[in-house]
């Protein structure tokens, strides 16, 4: 593609970014116009990502020793957890979640439930996720019926020793949620009174929702069909 056409496209994108679209629509050559438009879209998206990244960098600098949490519940409660249980946070404060190390999780959880000002009495959802590069993560969405605020707590563990203290004594629904996450991801929940698979039969090998999961060939002699016969 000739160089002056590139120059033309570049300055048209600048004009597009500046906002006057009619000059771009004026080009009669269809191919050129679509090139300019896609270039424009890419530029816009790049600009947006840059803005988000900028916002991200800005928060870590000011999260030095004296952290001023914004009013978002995730940050506010992360700050309170950091105060009560020093060195339990595993990640910087951010709006989306609170990253916690697994070892103090049971104390933090019981404190979150019993503390009157927090009073997280309802474990809304418990999700297991395979983060890739040998990391598994359990995510807890907690919610307080009384104060009506909610937070998301994440605990990342490596695949070879996937052990998280179980919270099924605190929130009774944790019992089944944790069993299902164990069933699907293979995260062991220490202290769980009835640590069995939830959905799959007891003697099923492998943890299905892991990204690198291979279905076993036969189960009790029953061949697991890969592709339906008579279809190829």
């Amino acid at each position: 593609m000739s160089s002056e056409q590139e120059k033309l496209i570049a300055e048209l994108i600048e004009k597009g970014l500046a906002g006057d679209m009619d000059s771009i629509n004026a080009i009669e050559d269809r191919v050129l116009r679509s090139k300019v438009k896609s270039g424009l879209a890419k530029a816009k998206r790049a600009a947006k990502n840059a803005a988000v990244a900028a916002a991200k960098e800005s928060s870590p600098e000011e999260s030095s020793a004296e952290i001023m949490p914004s009013d978002h519940p995730n940050q506010k409660f992360a700050f309170m957890i950091e105060e009560k249980f020093p060195d339990s946070l595993a990640d910087t404060l951010n709006d989306t979640h609170i990253q916690i190390k697994p070892d103090q999780w049971f104390e933090i959880a019981s404190w979150l439930k019993s503390e009157p000002s927090l009073y997280f009495d309802s474990l809304q959802c418990h999700t297991g996720i395979d983060l890739g590069e040998n990391m598994l993560e359990a995510r807890y969405n907690l919610h307080s019926m009384k104060h009506d605020h909610k937070i998301e707590i994440r605990i990342a563990v490596s695949r070879d020793n996937a052990h998280i203290p179980s919270i099924e004594q605190i929130w009774r629904i944790g019992d089944w949620f944790e069993r299902e996450t164990y069933d699907m991801f293979g995260i062991f929940f220490d202290g769980h009174r009835d640590h069995r698979r939830m959905l799959l039969p007891e003697d099923w090998e492998g943890y299905p929702l892991r990204k690198d999961y291979e279905v076993q060939e036969t189960y009790h002699g029953i061949i697991i069909p890969k592709v339906k016969e008579g279809w190829e």
Binding site: D121, Q124, M145, I173, M198, L199
Partner: protein
Amino acid sequence: MGVVHGEEMVLNIGPQHPSTHGVLRLKVKTDGEIISEITPVIGYLHRCFEKHCENMTYDQVIPFTDRCDYLAAMANNFGYVVAVEELMELKVPEKVEYIRVIMAELQRIASHLLALGVYGLDIGAFTPFLFMLRDRERILDMFEMTCGARLLYNYMWVGGVSHDLPKGFVETAFQFLDYFEPQIEEYNKLLTYNKIFIERTADIGVLPQDVAISYGVSGPNLRASGVKWDLRRNDTYSIYEKFDFDVCIGDGGQGTLGDCWDRYYVRMLEVKESVKILRQALAQMPKDGDVHQALPKKIRPPKGSIYSRTETPRGDLGFYIESDGSPIPTRVKMRSPAFTALSVLGELAGGWMMSDVISILGSLDIVLGEIDR
């Protein structure tokens, strides 16, 4: 031969049983008629919904969400679609919001009708079941008018709905509502205040509030225990703030608060509320507006995760969606309300008789497709 327990008898209310509302197996330890311990065994209907979601695009997942809670497919679509739109910060035109609320409320009535009818069947009353199904058929006709399907619709898409309302829809809906309201009085006279029904359901399977919250129970089961928690009010999504309806909670009308009768009656009250919402929604709906206007060409949500909850006839349906910017979600977790309702059965049904277990299970209104996913 193992040790033979004299009185103790382990009984399998097995995967194939007329009143387990799907393939659910209850291992029951009974001493004569009295139940000492129940352990539900699930997984017979596990179809790897979450694994499928990880190799399909966002709009291909919608027919799969229908099949999770197959008695309230519209509500599942609604929940999933609201979650994805929240993830993409996509604004949907006014008319689509109204259509979605109308469809969700119609589906709530249809699902509650079936739940109440089947509950009457579990207690032994055959006729109310048929009356309620007869009225549910009229709602299914309306669904068929709009999207062609009667049970599994794939109607609500990310960013809009698949078909606009057909010509005669609003009149048919009003016609149905006028026909339906006196029917609710007839159900109440026939079943709700029937002395045998009250005898079989009042003071049975009482669910205290703190146990309910600790077990994550939600929806009519939680409201029957007196907790005023309705996502349409507490965590408003779509345009529910435009309609005035009250959240009906159990009041221990025929026995202690939170018993089977309350769970049944809260659903009956909710049907009345849904009729109220429908009347307002059908009246305020904007006539013009293209439902396909906000349908994105390529659904590609930004990197990040979202947990969004909606109020289905069975409770809080939560979708935890994690996306890495590609058109295929990396993780879709469906938090099913019936899953939590079933988990409380073990705690609830200890010490009651055999026929009460069936009554308690019926009052929880579980659907196994949603539990096993």
